[in-house]
């Protein structure tokens, strides 16, 4: 679960690095759920300076390479102007039930944020 937006806060970086390390160790990731300002990790309109990491495309690549399900909360997304039209590849918009379902299905649910 990623609860903070990109760049302002380290949560998304930490979550990404944790997810990558987890996959490298052979674990499975059931889902990454983006909530609160975390939904801002999903906009394809993000354009950081060229000498900086691109937090959004990094998530997209993780989804492409490993089939990780990247889910953005619909209510939180609508509040913040994140819609299907500006969604980066690999992300999808769905409901909070997806978060609770992950909590039920996965061995561990890890929260990144304040």
């Amino acid at each position: 679960m990623v609860n903070e937006g990109p760049y302002t806060h380290q949560a998304s970086d930490s979550a990404y690095l944790f997810a990558k390390a987890t996959l490298e160790k052979g674990h499975q990731i059931h889902r990454v759920f983006f909530y609160h300002d975390g939904v801002n990790n999903a906009t394809r309109l993000t354009e950081p300076p060229q000498d900086d990491r691109n937090v959004v495309t990094r998530w997209s690549k993780l989804a492409e390479d490993h089939g990780v399900d990247l889910v953005v909360c619909v209510a939180a997304a609508m509040r913040r102007g994140i819609r299907d039209e500006n969604l980066a590849p690999g992300f999808r918009i769905s409901g909070l039930g997806q978060l609770v379902e992950s909590g039920i299905q996965a061995d561990r649910l890890v929260v990144f944020g304040d």
Binding site: M1, N3, H36, V74, S94, L96, E101, G103, V111, G113
Partner: protein, 134 residues
């Protein structure tokens, strides 16, 4: 598809019941964490899980009586806490130290709660399957 629950209407069909604890640590206004956190708690009620809520640090203010938000043009969502019982969410725990340091006691709160010491709260957290903090 039901947009609220993401297409999952009543539980996930697995029959698994886990202990979900939602830990509220922030003041009700000033940031959106408390409001959006409460939305997760309400959705979780549809999944027939063992749900509890914890209030500590400034999170205890979420349950304070007499919230008036008109002047800051933000919705007063505190009546929702009184509706939790209707969702079968009845395990509400408040940390004693957080109340005391803020000059509050259980009588200042909107709903009946169980007041626990910090140590007892820690023990309770250890027994949970899923802990989500807001």
């Amino acid at each position: 598809m039901n947009e609220t629950t993401g297409g999952i209407e009543d539980g996930d069909g697995s029959g698994i019941v886990k202990k979900f604890m939602f830990v509220n640590r922030k003041a009700p206004y000033g940031t959106i964490y408390a409001l959006e956190g409460l939305e997760v708690v309400l959705i979780s009620a549809a999944f027939d899980q063992d749900v509890s809520m914890v209030f500590l640090d400034d999170g205890v203010y979420q349950l304070a009586k007499g919230q008036h938000t008109k002047a800051i043009d933000v919705k007063n969502f505190s009546p929702t806490y009184r509706a939790l019982e209707g969702y079968d969410i009845e395990k509400l725990y408040v940390e004693r130290e957080s109340l005391e340091i803020r000059g509050l006691n259980a009588g200042d709160l909107l709903v009946p709660v169980e007041v626990l010491s910090s140590a007892a709260m820690g023990d309770l957290m250890k027994t949970q399957d899923v802990v989500i903090g807001f």
